[in-house]
């Protein structure tokens, strides 16, 4: 009974392979996709328009692959943090963020992260593994608010571009007619700028893109985000300029504000120069220190000032209030570090 393959996370093409392998008629693939992603069943038994034989054949080798959250924490502001068991005894988190007419789920794309950004809780946990598309989709399906979600952001644990295959697959499932049928405009994927994978994302999906900038300056960004050694923010912006994103697709830059570090007039000038003429917006984000962090968040007044300075330069910025702080559910704050067992057989 163990180790059955999950159906959740399979694209229509992959489901066609599955039914072909079982000797079932080709149209069964669309029926299964419908049960998985539209009717959202949690057992093969519920796929009642499939013949009994087809269901038995499927159940012999496959399972749906739904996992219920193993823990839920609710913040005073209504934000909820869901903990899910992923494969190999690992855990991931998703954050549900209700606002007036928007109900957003912030999903994880990896277990931990390899990118080691200085300000990030997930980064502090190191990397434990990749999530399958089904494990990403499961986060949307298995929460209490599944049916009222209006938006999804890939800003939880992990760097989506470092798991690009599975992330693209999950996006295909969310936006296809045979899948959730969502408009890609309801989805925002973040990246620190892994250029080759970011290009694939731009070319192969239509979802919005949010780039984590955090500093326009090489020497400074390098110390906040090791990725800058390899793919500089200048090159990321240069790559973005090659594409026509049209009117509908949004490019935004995330900018966490650190007191005395990246909140000066020089930074306003640096950002202006970097983004010169680009149609985008900048999200200024309040930083809430993570344990043992050398960084402090800029004050609200400073953030207002910074935002005003940017708008004087013709750049649109918004100040994002942080939600769910009391349960550590803000972006960059998701971590299951306490659940990670340290490898005793280490080389350092």
């Amino acid at each position: 009974m163990q180790n059955k393959e999950a159906l959740l996370g399979k694209t229509l093409d992959e489901l066609r392979e599955v039914v072909k392998g079982l000797g079932l008629p080709a149209f069964t693939a669309s029926q299964i996709a419908n049960w998985l992603y539209v009717k959202k069943v949690s057992s093969i038994e519920e796929m009642t328009n499939l013949s009994k034989k087809a269901r038995e054949g499927l159940a012999e080798n496959f399972e749906i692959g739904r996992t219920l959250p193993s823990k839920v924490q609710t913040s005073v502001d209504g934000t909820k943090k869901y903990l899910f068991a992923a494969h190999k005894g690992l855990f991931i988190e998703a954050a549900y963020i209700p606002e007036d007419d928007r109900k957003t789920l912030c999903v994880s794309s990896q277990v931990g992260c390899k990118m080691g950004c200085l300000f990030c809780m997930t980064g502090k946990q190191g990397f434990q593994g990749q999530l399958k598309a089904g494990e990403i989709i499961n986060q949307l399906l298995s929460i209490e608010e599944s049916d009222i979600l209006t938006n999804v952001v890939y800003m939880g644990m992990g760097e989506p571009m470092d798991n690009i295959e599975e992330v693209l697959k999950s996006l295909q499932i969310l936006t296809s007619d045979w899948g959730f049928g969502w408009s890609p405009r309801r989805i925002n994927v973040s990246t620190i700028g892994v250029i080759p994978a970011m290009r694939r994302f731009i070319e192969e999906s239509e979802a919005h893109l949010a780039i984590s900038m955090h500093s326009p300056f090489d020497q400074e960004r390098k110390k906040l985000m090791p990725i800058q050694q390899v793919y500089t923010i200048e090159k990321v912006v240069e790559a973005l300029r090659e594409y026509d994103f049209g009117r509908q697709r949004r490019i935004s830059f995330e900018y966490i504000m650190f007191e005395g570090i990246n909140d000066t007039v020089e930074h306003v000038k640096g950002i202006t120069k970097l983004l010169n003429g680009m149609r985008c917006r900048i999200n200024l984000i309040k930083f809430h220190p993570i344990p043992d962090s050398p960084l402090r968040g800029s004050s609200n007044d400073k953030m207002e000032w910074f935002s005003n300075q940017l708008s004087k330069k013709g750049l649109i910025s918004t100040i994002r209030r942080s939600r769910g702080e009391d349960i550590y559910a803000a972006c960059g704050l998701l971590s299951t570090k306490e659940l990670v067992k340290k490898d005793e057989d280490s080389d350092f």
């Binding site: 992260c113 080691g116 470092d162 080759p196 694939r200 110390k223 090791p226 043992d292 350092f348």
Partner: protein
């Protein structure tokens, strides 16, 4: 020099000069050198122009006639298993060198585990080891790649931390213990870390705890 952007034209076919399995599962390949580089830089590599790229630190000195790469074979990896099978005369696709983990000042500290030693091999072979200190961590004594080079260039400023074995010249124990306890960790020095994320993140945190400002910690992560 530019970062690769997954465009075919950026990949150039180069001839493989040699491929040696220096330790079980760890390989050194030498390639025809078609560009100059700065020690600490990387190249992006693919078996075929349409494949996804993988990044590798250049592990040879600037005056060495070939371009050397030191790599681990990742069992279910896309690139490293076929790359480990290459023979002299075969072709590999490589970009121009790029990356900014370079120009470590004198008195800086280099900290590496595993193949994360690669950029420091390039620096040491290019005459940039003087005044630096290298902390290298490995499980077994045979896994201190290029130890003869570092012994020669750095003498007693080359410290090998072996976690699973004892042996002559080795410090048995962890780099992390040393960083926690040593009087030599000074906030004013620069620390250059290279290796996997777990090492970088843990060592960086310990350095911060020892009072090193984050400005003085520069990391290259093999993501």
């Amino acid at each position: 020099m530019s970062e690769p952007v997954r465009r075919k034209k950026e990949l150039k076919p180069v001839r493989l000069i040699s491929n040696t399995e220096i330790k079980s599962g760890v390989f050194v390949i030498e390639l025809e050198k078609i560009h100059d580089f700065i020690p600490g830089q990387i190249v992006a590599v693919a078996m075929h122009p349409d494949d996804d790229l993988r990044l590798y630190s250049i592990a040879s000195g600037v005056d060495y006639p070939y371009l050397r790469i030191l790599f681990d074979r990742v069992p279910d990896g896309q690139l490293t298993p076929p790359m480990s099978e290459l023979r002299a005369g075969d072709t590999l696709y490589v970009t121009a060198p790029f990356g900014r983990f370079t120009k470590t000042p004198e008195n800086s500290w280099w900290i590496a585990t595993g193949t994360g030693i690669a950029p420091f091999i390039s620096m040491a072979e290019s005459g940039e080891a003087r005044g630096r200190t290298l902390l290298h961590g490995a499980r077994y004594s045979e896994r201190f790649y290029y130890q003869e080079l570092f012994k020669e260039k750095m003498g007693d400023r080359y410290l090998r931390f072996c976690t699973m074995e004892e042996g002559p010249g080795l410090i048995s124990g962890r780099i992390t213990t040393f960083i926690k306890e040593s009087d030599e960790i000074k906030p004013e020095n620069k620390y250059y870390l290279c290796g996997n994320a777990d090492m970088v993140v843990e060592v960086r945190q310990l350095l911060l705890t020892r009072g090193v400002p984050f400005d003085n910690i520069i990391a290259e992560i093999y993501f």
